[in-house]
Every structure is written in structure tokens, then in C-alpha cells.
């Protein structure tokens, strides 16, 4: 049940920098490309994703260890995970509306979008398949969320500046967004020397 060996802190930093959900796992691309036109919006979306990511990772970890494994329901795990994610998003939205109305006004519109964000389900599935323990899962969820936030904010900031330049025909919008992402991914490879697992 517990994999020793991989230091949770390494998982945390690796999931932000070297194995970023977007830049090296391609997860959560849809909203990443479509909502990165403006820095402020993108950053809000990033915050919401981080929040949902942490909660769903904790909940899905519990569901997996306490329900799915003991009852031998592995074959239904995808359904259970996605339902938990959808429910978590609903609950966070309602709780936020009650407790933090200001934040809800800012982030509320993004929450429903997050249910179908691949990065969220991806984090859960990676956690299960890599057999992380609780601490590892928690830091993996947090790191993946922060990494997603970092990537979308960076792209949005670059695209805001890009709006002032003239681009070749047909490359405006998603085309250039992908090319920029490619360059960002290249830059992030530079971080790979920071952590060594040996």
C-alpha cells in the first residue's frame, strides 16, 4: 500500500517543473488553450484548478483505498472517480458561494469547466497507477495544480504581449499558442537537472 522510496517533496517539485501536467503530460489542454487570452482570467482559472485538484486527489485517494480496493471494484474506478470529481466541484462551488462570496464571483464561472479538465482526472489516475501513499498523493495533487497554474499564467502573459505584434496569417490564436507552449516546454526541460532521484 505504501511505496517508500520516492521523496514526496521531489514529487511535489517535479510535478510543478519537470513533469508539468501541461508541458510534459499534455493534460488539461482544452481550457489551457481557450482561456489563456487574458492574464487575469487565466490566473483565476489556474487557482480554481489547483483548489479542485487538491480536494479531488484527497477524496479519490480515500475512495480508492477504502472503497474500490476492498470491494474489488477496480473495473468501475473511472466512473467513481469522475463522479467524485463532479460532486467535489459542485460542493466547492456551493461552499464558496456561502463562505467566500467575493472569491465565488471571481472563480465561480470556471468551476463547472473544471469537471471535464483532463488534468484533474489525470492526476487521480497517475496517483493510483503509481501507487502513491497519502502524503505523496497530497503533494502530487498540490504540485500538479500549481504547475498547471504556472503554465497557464505564463502562456496568458505572453499572449497578452503577443496581441501587440503582427503574426503570419493563420497562426493567430491557437496556432501560436501551441508554438509558445512548445518553447515553454523546451525551457522547462532545463529544470530536469535540479532533481536527481539517484
Amino acid at each position: 500500500m505504501f511505496t517508500d522510496g520516492i521523496n514526496p517533496l521531489i514529487i511535489f517539485f517535479a510535478s510543478i517543473l519537470t513533469s508539468n501536467m501541461i508541458l510534459s503530460n499534455f493534460l488539461g489542454m482544452c481550457s489551457y488553450i481557450s482561456i489563456s487570452g487574458e492574464y487575469k482570467t487565466a490566473s483565476s482559472l489556474g487557482k480554481s484548478v489547483t483548489l479542485v485538484m487538491v480536494f479531488t486527489t484527497i477524496l479519490n485517494f480515500g475512495v480508492y483505498k477504502l472503497i474500490i480496493v476492498p470491494l474489488g471494484l477496480e473495473y468501475l474506478q473511472y466512473i467513481l472517480f469522475i463522479i467524485i470529481i463532479a460532486a467535489t466541484v459542485q460542493i466547492i462551488e456551493m461552499a464558496m458561494d456561502r463562505l467566500l462570496p467575493d472569491l465565488h464571483v471571481k472563480l465561480g464561472i470556471f468551476l463547472p469547466l473544471i469537471t471535464v479538465n483532463c488534468a484533474i482526472l489525470g492526476t487521480t489516475l497517475f496517483m493510483v497507477i503509481r501507487d502513491y501513499n497519502f502524503v505523496q498523493s497530497l503533494l502530487f495533487g498540490l504540485g500538479s495544480g500549481l504547475g498547471w497554474w504556472l503554465a497557464i499564467s505564463a502562456l496568458a502573459a505572453i499572449r497578452e504581449q503577443m496581441a501587440k505584434t503582427k503574426l503570419p496569417k493563420g497562426l493567430e490564436g491557437p496556432g501560436i499558442a501551441f508554438i509558445i507552449t512548445g518553447i515553454m516546454a523546451l525551457a522547462f526541460i532545463g529544470f530536469s537537472g535540479i532533481f536527481t532521484i539517484t
Binding site: Y75, I79, I197
Partner: protein, 196 residues
């Protein structure tokens, strides 16, 4: 009618029930086959470590396994032994260690004198497909076959290791993780085996 609560709840229950039944059916239909595949994969992997022919039907492979290999224990470590006419040809020692993302498990085959690697195989890992996942490819695994090991020295890639094994391009971290697992295995487990 269509938007009443009762209808909504009943509809949801019926849809869930139908699909759960469908999946449970598919699962129990395929389960024996999946388990059989897993057993076959494990046995084929062990045959590979010993460089025994792994071709043929499932029944042939399983028979070849039963004929040549037995599950045994040596110095408190459970492992597989390959013997012919009562003479040990090699041991397959299981290992599990931390990869880049999750644990990597497999078997390392060593000669009875513990001075040569007969083969290396991975049975489960969660490395990135197409990158670290390429440790499963023959090109990587075959490098280890026949590698001479002496007590005290460590396996290394490229020039440091005498140019016999190379890391996987683009997957340095996974390659290093594998080497670390193997060196620990050689150091802490295999060197402890008391061979007759």
C-alpha cells in the same frame, strides 16, 4: 413529467444499473482471461530472464516454465531457479524499487556463481509511454545479458561502465533509476545469496 424529481431519480437509477450490469458482465467475462494473461506475462518474463525460448502457445510456454523452473528460497530470499538435470543454471531474483514516477518491478537473472547477469526484465512500471517506458524494449534489456559483475564494482552507463550499457535517450531519469535499483539489488540482496 420528464422533469419531475421522481422521473429524474428513477431514470438515473435505471441508467446506472444498466451500465453497471453491463460492465460487471464484461468484467467477469474477461476476468479469467486477464488473470491468465497476467500469469502468462509473469512466466514469459522469467523465461526471458533465463534466455529460454518464449515462443509458442500459452500452454507450451507454461509447460516449458514448469519443466525447467521452480519456485524456491535461498538465504531467506524467495526466487526462481532454473535447473537442468539437477544442475542449477541460473537464478531469477525479483526486485522492486522507485522509478521516476512509481515503483518499477521485475527480475534479474544471475548465474549460480553470481558473476554474470543472464538477463533483466520488468514486470510492472509506470514510466512515461515512449520515453522511460522504453525500458521494456529489447534494445535496452538485451544490453544486460551476459554482463559480467564482480563484487564491489557498480554498473554504470557509457564509458564509466566500460561502454557495455547505454541509457535511453530522452529518459535519463528512468535509466538512472533502473541502474540504482539494480546496483542496490546486487549490493544488498544478490551478494548475500549463499550459493552452494
Amino acid at each position: 413529467m420528464k422533469n419531475s424529481y421522481v422521473y429524474t431519480v428513477v431514470f438515473m437509477l435505471v441508467v446506472s444499473a444498466v451500465f453497471t450490469l453491463l460492465l460487471a458482465g464484461a468484467n467477469s467475462f474477461y476476468k479469467p482471461k486477464i488473470e491468465e494473461n497476467e500469469l502468462l506475462a509473469e512466466r514469459t518474463a522469467i523465461l526471458y530472464v533465463f534466455d529460454i525460448d518464449q515462443s509458442g502457445s500459452a500452454a507450451e510456454v507454461l509447460k516449458r516454465f514448469d519443466d525447467n523452473i521452480k519456485d524456491t528460497e535461498l538465504s531467506g530470499i524467495s526466487l526462481y531457479e532454473y535447473s537442468e538435470q539437477g544442475e542449477t543454471i541460473a537464478y531469477a531474483v525479483p526486485f522492486t524499487g522507485a522509478g521516476l514516477w512509481g515503483s518499477i518491478s521485475g527480475y534479474l537473472g544471475v548465474s549460480p556463481e553470481l558473476d554474470e547477469i543472464t538477463g533483466l526484465v520488468f514486470t510492472s512500471h509506470s514510466e512515461t509511454p515512449g520515453l522511460g517506458g522504453r525500458i521494456d524494449e529489447l534494445e535496452y534489456k538485451e544490453q544486460y545479458r551476459g554482463l559480467v559483475i564482480d563484487a564491489g564494482s557498480k554498473l554504470a552507463y557509457g564509458e564509466d561502465g566500460g561502454g557495455q550499457i547505454d541509457a535511453i535517450t530522452g529518459a535519463t531519469s528512468t535509466s538512472n533509476a533502473v541502474l540504482k535499483i539494480l546496483n542496490e539489488l546486487l549490493d544488498e540482496t544478490i551478494s548475500r545469496l549463499e550459493v552452494a
